[in-house]
């Protein structure tokens, strides 16, 4: 019997057309490059900041006086007491940035990361709509803003400003440091207050080998007005304040090496040891692993699904650096870096893979 010829598979039909936002991000980045041959890391860094590469929008809203990392992270990320003490002791300072007041709220640095938060509010309680620079003006306003302005939930920032007949401002706050101290990652996030104010969060990962006891950098506060009808910046309605600030850096307060007890083999890798370093911000874990001969290198990313558990098998809070990393340059040797949120180094731990069926005990 003749086999029926298989129609040619056309997988393009499985994809939507490229969304405008994706096309715009790609082409704007391509057009933003400078023709000069010397595109140095410092200028690339500036581009990265402007582009807000990692945007984590926190889908919660808090009362204005509660805006801050302590309420933002709560128990979910295991913000240690030591970090809370540092955050509470930050000397707050108000800056007049055009029609807005931006308050430096919190700073926290431990050598591996630095957090800076600033709260943008309408000066003198004037009515205005504030959007974070890392957001999207065509995105829906948060529920709290819809309630405050008495608008339907599915209203974009641009529509809300038109309908409520109030000025729309884009606010940004970020901390720039010497590129030599930067470890290559940045996170931008924002949290809306119920009064329309916005907490702008900037987190940079830093190189602990290079950061000294104090981290000095430039805090930039930037406000621009948007014309809701054209979605364009209003000429001459652009305000910027820059100030050098210094943030004390808390270093490693305790460290320990954990070794596997019993089997050290999991998911095609043998665990050699786990180094734990505690700082005010949490506990950084570095697991040294060796891949078995038949473990495919292209599957190394499955290690991101691994988790550290406490003795009872409960996952630790994720920690506030928001990311893990892998070093596979020495394959088959691999180092998995992860953070956990905890007040003290645990007496024992377990390391489990995505299936969570097997685990390596560590002591």
């Amino acid at each position: 019997m003749n086999k029926r010829p298989e129609p040619e598979l056309d997988l393009r039909k499985a994809f939507s057309p490229t969304p405008e936002a994706c096309y715009g991000a790609l082409m704007n980045a391509a057009r933003s490059v400078k023709e000069e041959p010397s595109v140095r890391k410092i200028s690339f860094r500036a581009l990265v900041i402007a582009a807000a590469i990692i945007i984590a929008t926190m889908a919660i809203a808090l009362a204005a006086e509660q805006l801050g990392l302590i309420n933002l992270f709560g128990n979910d990320y295991g913000l240690p007491e030591a970090a809370q003490t540092v955050l509470k002791s930050t000397e707050q300072k108000d800056y007049a940035v055009g029609p807005l007041t931006i308050t430096l709220r919190e700073t926290l640095a431990d050598g591996r990361l630095v957090y800076v938060t600033a709260q943008a509010s309408s000066a003198g309680g004037a009515n205005a709509l504030i959007s974070p620079a890392s957001g999207d003006l065509s995105a829906y306003i948060p529920k709290t803003e819809a309630a405050r302005l008495n608008l339907p939930g599915e209203t974009s920032f641009l529509e809300a400003a038109s309908q409520a007949k109030m000025p729309l401002y884009v606010a940004d706050a970020y901390f720039e440091i010497d590129p030599a101290l930067w470890a290559g990652e940045e996170m931008r996030a924002e949290v809306f207050g119920t009064d329309g104010s916005v907490l702008l969060v900037d987190m940079l990962q830093t190189d602990p080998q290079k950061v000294a006891e104090t981290l000095t950098g430039t805090l930039t506060l930037h406000v621009r007005e948007i014309d809701p009808a054209s979605a364009a910046f209003v000429p001459d309605r652009d305000w910027r304040v820059e100030e050098e600030i210094s943030i004390p850096v808390g270093g490693v307060t305790a460290e320990r090496i954990y070794l596997p007890e019993g089997t050290a083999l999991l998911g095609g890798y043998t665990l050699k040891s786990v180094k734990a370093e505690q700082t005010d911000a949490g506990i950084y874990l570095s697991a040294s692993l060796e891949a078995a001969v038949d473990t495919p290198r292209e599957d190394v990313y499955s290690l991101y699904d691994w988790s550290f558990l406490d003795e009872k098998g409960n996952a630790f809070p994720a920690g506030i650096n928001m990311s893990g990393s892998l070093n596979e340059e020495g394959w088959p040797a691999v180092t998995l870096h992860m953070m956990i949120g905890a007040d003290a180094l645990p007496g024992a731990m377990r390391l489990t893979d995505a299936s969570a069926e097997d685990a390596i005990a560590l002591k």
């Binding site: 499985a14 082409m27 893990g324």
Partner: protein, 151 residues
């Protein structure tokens, strides 16, 4: 490579870049970040492109690395429930749904071949995999896709 050529070539392959990023990340916000960073990194690394004819595969390689970085930062995989509905539905929603259900290590080579028209050798180069592995994955991917479509 001058800037005009760079911008023109990126525009030419923008659709392909989006589809590849979506095949890995399955979330438009993440795709947006990956595409933006890919353009910046590609310009930074433009000196490493020896043959302009290889622009498209070279860009795809950079994009895949960037998608991996984003996956790494978000720590973990995206479950089917977490994938937002696209604002414009794809021409063949059933095919899209079946494709979503295939593991990423099979889905990506399948997309490179049957959406982007790459041959096995190009896919092997882009994914840094042996040719035989690529053939095997595409075979398995097609089989699984057929199964999903029949389900």
């Amino acid at each position: 490579m001058d800037k005009d050529y760079f911008v023109q070539e990126i525009e030419r392959i923008s659709g392909m870049l989006y589809r590849v990023s979506y095949a890995i990340l399955r979330h438009d916000e993440d795709c947006k970040d990956a595409l933006q960073e890919t353009a910046l990194k590609a310009w930074e690394k433009r000196g490493s492109l020896r043959d302009k004819n290889l622009f498209s595969t070279w860009m795809t390689r950079i994009l895949i690395n960037e998608c991996r970085n984003i996956q790494r930062k978000s720590r973990g995989s995206v479950s089917l429930e977490d994938i937002p509905e696209p604002s414009v539905p794809p021409p063949d929603p059933a095919l899209a749904m079946a494709l979503e259900k295939i593991p990423e290590n099979l889905r990506l080579p399948l997309v490179l071949k049957y959406s982007e028209g790459m041959n096995y050798a190009q896919i092997a180069k882009v994914l840094r995999l042996p040719l035989a592995t690529v053939r095997g994955r595409i075979y398995r991917a097609k089989k699984q896709l057929r199964k999903e479509l029949e389900a």
